[in-house]
Symmetry: C2
Subunit: 301 residues, 2 copies
């Protein structure tokens, strides 16, 4: 039995890559040769055809980046939007990623009271046919909403700590009477709770999500929490750069992965990669992933 | 165009009922005549058969309580646990509830950054074939994670404020430097944000979830927030009683619905209703719903 967090750390080192490739099929950004625009005029009627196109798109993306990423992260909202066929597409995407020996981090930000959180853990982490390795969760309900996701030590959970969006400040930055912010208190809470789930690498199966778009906070949270592994979203399309995320890693360049979704999935739409053309979207994605991988490794040297 | 919250208030008055019936198919509690226990030995293989049984169970429950409840609330985790067939069952359950003219509150506690929150809203609130009326959300990401769920004024969102579980205290009860608790600050945040979405009834399409298991807090939150409608879970199986939830309503007995899931779904397993027998689970559910409806109306008189 190998702890989730040790599996993740090992795969990162094998591939010498600290990137996480999000699989966020924004339908309106899909290449026309994969998804005919007229199908989007009535999404509910065309769910099955659209979902089939998304699966093909995802499989090509996974093939293109599998040797240079440890983790892929499907964002559930985009699959749920396609109803039942969308969920079929999600499960097929997960299964395909597992055939490529990738770690799958399901981005669903699930949360509920204990017995229901347990049902979510069973739904995704404990599925015996298609294993998801880890899931994002929202910690607002406290420990009994978090612990069910940690029961199986081969699986992991990434709890929201400081998110990457502009309105993260609304509640997460409120000041407590002990001087901490709410997000710092969430950080302490996660680190304490995670101590019973520490892998050999020194990090816990209970990881956290900390946005790349707030570099000052990222640095401060890293120094506050020495056993909490970070998923750092917000790189690329949301505005975070390699210099911004350096502070999220420990001194040995460990303890974090950096996510990009749109910036890789739809790289063919960026001027820098437009020479590939829409039909070569997967090659464009590979080029963008390669560049991101290198930028992060360079800044950590 | 009628605001979601006015539709809800009207239906509550029509039926003179302040209950919400959760549809939480805990598989191990299902009657043997509906779901054969041996199917549960390998849930992944038997997903389709189990989901078909759950749908039949839900349809019978809905038939049994449709005249005495304004709202039904399927808890998504229990459907997601059954994979793709589970999501088919969820959508069929929603569609069936709509044929009975019930308001459907989908309990998924969804949350994400703006563009992704928008995808969740499209997935459920904006589906043109099967309309969900409202959804539970988690407010931790702040306003840009909440507003996409309010765009359509015929639909509503119920944001977690103070949850019903024991560890709600872990983060929600932390004290801020201005003397408020985190959950009180969340309450103010939701009331402020909801002011642009007020219906004629004086309440907002942005409603909140406040547990029945903390009566003191419930009372205090009601007096703090005069335009936020409450969903009050935790009645029955989780320990809250009719006297506990009275404080969640306004002086006119408006402004809240009280949820019970297990206490109604599986009433046949309680000593009080065991005389119905497992095969009459729907009749037992009706009796439990009737009693709950009356207890709440009595305490509000």
């Amino acid at each position: 039995m190998k702890y989730f967090i040790d599996q993740l750390q090992q795969k990162i080192e094998e591939k010498d890559s600290r990137i996480c490739v999000g699989l966020d099929p924004h339908l309106e950004m899909m290449p026309e040769n994969v998804l005919a625009a007229e199908l989007l005029e009535d999404i509910e009627t065309n769910q099955k055809e659209i979902a089939d196109s998304v699966l093909k798109f995802n499989q090509n993306l996974i093939d293109a980046v599998a040797d240079m990423t440890a983790v892929v992260k499907p964002q559930m909202a985009f699959y749920e939007k396609l109803g039942v066929p969308g969920m079929e597409c999600l499960w097929q995407t997960i299964a395909y990623a597992k055939t490529k020996d990738l770690i799958v981090l399901l981005d669903g930000k699930r949360n509920d009271i204990g017995s229901t959180a347990g049902a979510y853990a069973e739904a995704y982490l404990e599925n015996k046919k298609i294993g998801v390795d880890s899931i994002t969760i929202n910690p607002y309900l406290g420990s009994d909403g978090v612990l069910p996701f940690l029961e199986n030590k081969e699986k992991g959970a990434f709890a929201l700590l400081r998110t990457s969006n502009p309105s993260a400040v609304d509640l997460q930055d409120l000041k407590l009477d002990d001087g901490r912010t709410v997000y710092q208190a969430v950080g302490d809470f996660l680190q304490d709770l995670g101590r019973d789930y520490l892998g050999e690498c020194g990090y816990s199966n209970l990881a956290a999500v900390v946005g790349a778009t707030y570099p000052k906070e990222l640095k401060e949270i890293r120094s506050q929490l020495d056993s909490v592994f970070f998923l750092i979203p917000g790189f690329g399309a949301q505005g975070g750069g390699a210099a911004d995320i350096k502070a999220g890693f420990d001194e040995d360049g460990r303890g974090a992965v950096v996510n990009s979704s749109r910036g890789i999935n739809f790289a063919y739409r960026q001027e820098e990669y437009s020479y590939f053309g829409a039909e070569n979207y997967a090659k464009a994605a590979r080029a963008a992933a390669e560049k991101m991988k290198k930028e992060i490794n360079d800044v950590l040297k």
